[in-house]
């Protein structure tokens, strides 16, 4: 269980970024989590909420974009999602493919309220 550390790293980035928006408030952070990242999104969200509660970061939402494992067929170029049954290309049946995604653990966006509107999540 290392999701507490992951959630903490997200918050460190939010705090660092917050300095770029004096007077503004970061309301939401978007994070991409791949199924091969080794991170459980539910546990991460639970830790994130616990870390934010009672701090000056409130209200701060977490938006998780979960990504499945993706390959691209080396024979026909078709990108596809790999399931448990195997790595066969659904288009041409080839077994020769290359990994193109599914291990992401990335920050994708921040939603910033610049104070021009009423504060709120």
């Amino acid at each position: 269980m290392h999701e507490m550390g992951i959630a903490n790293s997200i918050l460190e980035s939010v705090r660092a970024e917050a300095r770029r928006f004096p007077g503004g408030h970061i309301c939401k952070v978007g994070v991409r989590v791949g199924e091969l990242s080794g991170v459980n999104p539910e546990a991460m969200t639970f830790c994130f909420e616990a870390l934010v509660r009672g701090t000056d970061l409130e209200p701060l939402g977490l938006d998780v974009e979960y990504c499945l494992r993706r390959h691209e067929c080396r024979d026909c170029g078709q990108p596809f999602i790999v399931d448990r049954e195997g790595m066969e290309c659904p288009e041409c049946g080839s077994l020769d493919s290359r990994f193109i995604g599914g291990d992401e653990l990335e920050l994708i966006y921040l939603e910033v309220d610049d104070g021009a509107h009423a504060a709120g999540a």
Binding site: M1, H2, I6, I10, C27, G38, G86, M87, D103
Partner: protein, 228 residues
Amino acid sequence: MERMPLERKVLNENGRIAAELRGRFAEHDVLCLNLISSPGSGKTSLLERTLESFAPGERVAVLTGDIQTENDARRLARFGFPVKQITTGGTCHLDARMIERALSDWRLEDIDLLLIENVGNLVCPSSYDLGEAAKIVVLSVTEGEDKPLKYPSIFFKSELLVLNKTDLLPYVPFDIDAAEKNARQVHGNMEIVRVSCVTREGLQEWLDWLRRKRAAPQAAAVSASTNP
């Protein structure tokens, strides 16, 4: 409300230190390997058999991670090579900063092979790059043959699978061919060796893999990504 794009790794800071370590390993031609498994799969036993195979004076060093105790470092120090225990005090994985700190009073000029034994855990260590040239996952036959399917992240990211404790195969309902098939389902071209640290069967294959890896110039590892 304004949405600002922010394309960056969550473990940015760990990644930065890992990249620095990888650069230093390349500069000093150090092969760094990160061994990962569940608790009790035999990482320390594999390292014992590995260290005892080396001639005195070989430039090998070991960092071994555990939540508590110096037991593993004591077991491994008997072979006369530099060994350091990293006790994480509760953390379930090693991170790049722990490696950086542990190496602070070692001279990389004196090391050709750095073996890192991660904390016993098949999940969390897979998220943390330690600057290694390759991850190695150890799976013992007293576990389930479906472990690669249950914990795909680490099997996907590891270059080599060491199937350990094969001496116990007659006593456990472990289908070793199914285990290999499952590993290759997650990681198509995964290299696999079958080893017993008790009978020593298969150990030569592991040592040969290690020798091949050491023969390749380490600078090549810099450009290689941590993923296959």
